[in-house]
């Protein structure tokens, strides 16, 4: 069952299945690529910021990244059984 990253429950290990680059501005897309977002990479949503849970703190590969939900919507993920 595929989810968008912003819908992924906290602390649920998942894998990136697709990234909709067309939903992102050039700058955001470049940043996302540079931070290692790619199909097949392990990902986990860990924390939401106070007062509304936006932005998110996300683990991508072995790295922690802060990102807003608006950009997280472009990332499709699939939870992995652990």
């Amino acid at each position: 069952m595929a989810l968008r990253l912003d819908q992924l429950p906290f602390r649920t290990p998942a894998v990136v299945t697709a990234i909709d680059w067309s939903r992102l501005s050039d700058g955001d897309a470049r940043r996302l690529r540079n931070l290692g977002f790619d199909e097949g990479v392990g990902i986990e949503s860990l924390h939401g910021a106070p007062f509304g849970g936006d932005p998110l703190a996300v683990r991508i590969g072995r790295m922690m990244v802060a990102m807003r939900r608006a950009q997280a919507q472009a990332v499709s993920v699939e939870p992995v059984a652990s």
């Binding site: 992102l24 501005s25 700058g27 955001d28 470049r30 940043r31 996302l32 690529r33 540079n34 931070l35 290692g36 790619d38 990479v41 860990l46 924390h47 939401g48 910021a49 106070p50 007062f51 509304g52 849970g53 936006d54 932005p55 703190a57 590969g61 072995r62 790295m63 922690m64 990244v65 802060a66 990102m67 807003r68 608006a70 950009q71």
Partner: protein, 617 residues
């Protein structure tokens, strides 16, 4: 520059690049700027094991050769030999974070493909081990085709091997690829190759980052997170005021002693006046802020080195998004509480140009340390030192209110600017959150040291020159008999003109006069008020009490409050204007900044004055 071989230190942000650079060069560093751009160039000298000296330059951290900020652009241009003021490096020292290999290898592959002789420092192997991660440098060496040395930058591990490897690499022939790096493989392919190599080189891996994750469950917790943040901020500002009192007093005493000495060796007249009242008083007044600025920077450097700064930006992103900015803007704005100049320089890391411009324009609204002496003297004179219950002092409350007014003013201004002159599409907030680390003393001390030098150079140049000019304006033409210097001087005449403009907001001739030299630096307002009320300059403490008493006698409470409100907004700082001009490449934005902030200051002072009168204060 020197004719020594040039080695460029490159790598991702947070790879420990600067720590490695600090370890290799020690305190023998030179900080300059690349011509045309405002990116810092940090370089140092180093002797190789065979005795050959080399020059080593610390390039800004980058994620790829596809730059997303002015800093990263410099890195790319240096590596392609296109950067003005820098020759093509003879070798690269590539720094990889062992705990984040798959991500850092991507940039590494791009860099190795450039064909320059390269040595890889596999850094932070100790932290990797802490996280249960074992990397085999030999596998990495085989896959990358360049020498790999395991290092722990903060503990000097691997230094000798690194120098040895560099020594061999520099002799090696370059095999530069034709073109400008356009021949690079496509990004996704590099990405995958990087991950494959990382998998090969990883000997064993347990679930990682326990320490960082544990701290984050508290630091990023929806309830505990903001509490920790508030405590950290409170501790920081408390320290800035509490710890700085003694050193500020020493510096002031030192300046007073110098003034006394200078007065005794120079003949009375213009020369003595220039040295004592002009140079020493002006530069001394600014250098007295060094302790506060250094304490604030100490905190900022530690917050950055520990990894908490990005968490703070994360917590603040929501608030900043409301006014059309992002968490990126938080870091420069925090620095602006010490001084807007380094704050504005720190906006370089903001990649969106409109966001960056907005942040630059609102940075002067953060209450910098130069406003403190102005606030202190007016609050001391007009706000009664009593508590209003609960142990809260009225004076402290007013000071807090002035800080809050600046912050609220900045947020409202940002919102207004984003709807008008800096309108643009909203951008995301995406930032790597580095793992937590204990800040290392060497890196903090070196960071403070370079900032001290920059600050003192500034005091020695801009402030010195403007002080002399203002002294001249106040001293010439010399008064005729029966005339005071205030009436005859150029500054006095300008003040008379200015008085017409500021009278409606409750300001008098002396305030108008004090505002002119305060253009150079806000804190000068205090000393020029003292001069304007012709207080004897001989005794430091006596000056203070007398000035307070004189102000009490001559100013109404509404005037004093209006004066405070003015200084919350007024952009009275030449250095800020100068740095804004440099960072925005022209006079347009500094002129805009002056216009909008003076308008705000005038409005705020007027509203305060007439509001206070209406309330019968």
């Amino acid at each position: 520059m020197s004719g020594f071989p040039l080695v460029a230190v490159v790598g991702n942000p947070n790879a420990g690049k600067s720590a490695l650079f600090n370890m290799l060069t020690g305190a023998r560093q030179k900080v300059g700027n690349y011509p045309g751009v405002t990116v810092e160039r940090k370089s140092g000298r180093l002797a190789l094991p065979d005795g050959r000296p080399i020059e080593i330059v610390d390039l800004p951290g980058a994620y790829s050769l596809d730059p997303s900020s002015p800093d990263e652009e410099v890195t790319r241009d240096v590596l392609l030999g296109r950067q003005q003021g820098e020759r093509l490096p003879d070798a690269l020292l590539l720094v990889l974070d062992a705990t984040n290999l798959d991500n850092h290898l991507r940039f590494a592959l791009q860099l190795i493909a450039l064909g320059l002789p390269t040595v890889v420092a596999l850094n932070m192997v100790d932290l990797a081990r802490r996280d249960g991660l074992e990397i085999d440098p030999q596998v990495l060496e085989r896959e990358l085709g360049v020498p790999v040395v395991a290092t722990v930058a903060v503990r000097r591990r691997g230094t000798d091997e690194l120098k040895e490897a560099l020594s061999e690499a520099i002799g090696a022939a370059r095999r530069i690829r034709a073109g400008d790096g356009a021949a690079q493989e496509d990004f996704a392919a590099i990405q995958r190759r990087a991950r494959a190599i990382a998998r090969l080189a990883t000997v064993s891996e347990k679930s990682g980052r326990r320490t960082s994750h544990f701290i984050d469950t508290v630091a990023l917790h929806p309830v505990a997170g903001p509490i920790v943040f508030t405590l950290v901020m409170f501790l920081m500002f408390q320290a800035v005021f509490a710890w700085s009192q003694a050193p500020v007093a020493w510096i002031e005493a030192g300046v007073a002693a110098l003034q006394g000495a200078a007065a005794s060796v120079t003949p009375a007249g213009l020369v003595r006046s220039l040295v004592v009242d002009g140079v020493l008083a002006g530069v001394g007044a600014v250098v007295a802020f060094l302790p506060q600025i250094l304490i604030l920077f100490l905190f900022i450097l530690m917050l950055e080195a520990s990894g908490y700064m990005v968490r703070a930006a994360f917590l603040m992103d929501r608030l900043m998004a409301r006014v059309g900015l992002s968490g990126h803007a938080f870091i420069p704005l925090l620095s602006s509480f010490a001084c807007a100049v380094p704050g504005i320089m720190a906006t370089r890391t903001i990649e969106d140009p409109k966001h960056r411009l907005t942040t630059i324009l609102i940075a002067p609204l953060m209450t910098c340390s130069a406003r403190l002496p102005v606030y202190a003297i007016i609050i001391g004179a007009f706000i009664p030192a009593r508590t209003i219950g609960g142990g809260i002092g009225l004076q402290g409350l007013v000071l807090f209110g002035l800080y809050a007014l600046g912050i609220v003013g900045a947020l409202v201004a940002a919102l207004a600017l984003r709807f008008t002159v800096t309108k643009g599409a909203p951008r995301g907030f995406m930032l790597e959150m580095p793992k937590y680390q204990l800040p290392h003393v060497r890196d903090i001390v070196l960071g403070l040291w370079t900032r001290t030098l920059i600050f003192l150079k500034r005091a020695g140049s801009i402030i010195l020159v403007s002080t002399i000019i203002l002294w001249a304006l106040l001293s010439f033409p010399q008064p005729r008999p029966g005339e005071t210097a205030l009436q005859s001087s150029i500054a006095g005449r300008i003040a008379s003109g200015l008085e017409v403009v500021v009278r409606p907001i409750g300001f008098n001739h002396e305030i108008a006069l004090a505002l002119i030299p305060a253009m150079a630096a806000r804190e000068v307002a205090v000393s020029s008020l003292a001069t304007a009320y012709s207080v004897q300059e001989s005794d430091e403490t006596k000056t203070d009490t007398t000035l307070i008493e004189r102000l009490r006698g001559r100013w109404s409470l509404p005037t004093a409050l209006a004066f405070l409100a003015w200084f919350v907004f007024a952009p009275q700082c030449l250095s800020t204007i100068a740095v804004t001009r440099r960072e925005t490449n022209g006079w347009k934005w500094p002129a805009f900044m002056l216009g909008y902030l003076f308008t705000l200051a005038y409005g705020a002072a007027g509203a305060t004055y007439w509001g206070a009168r209406a309330l019968g204060l």
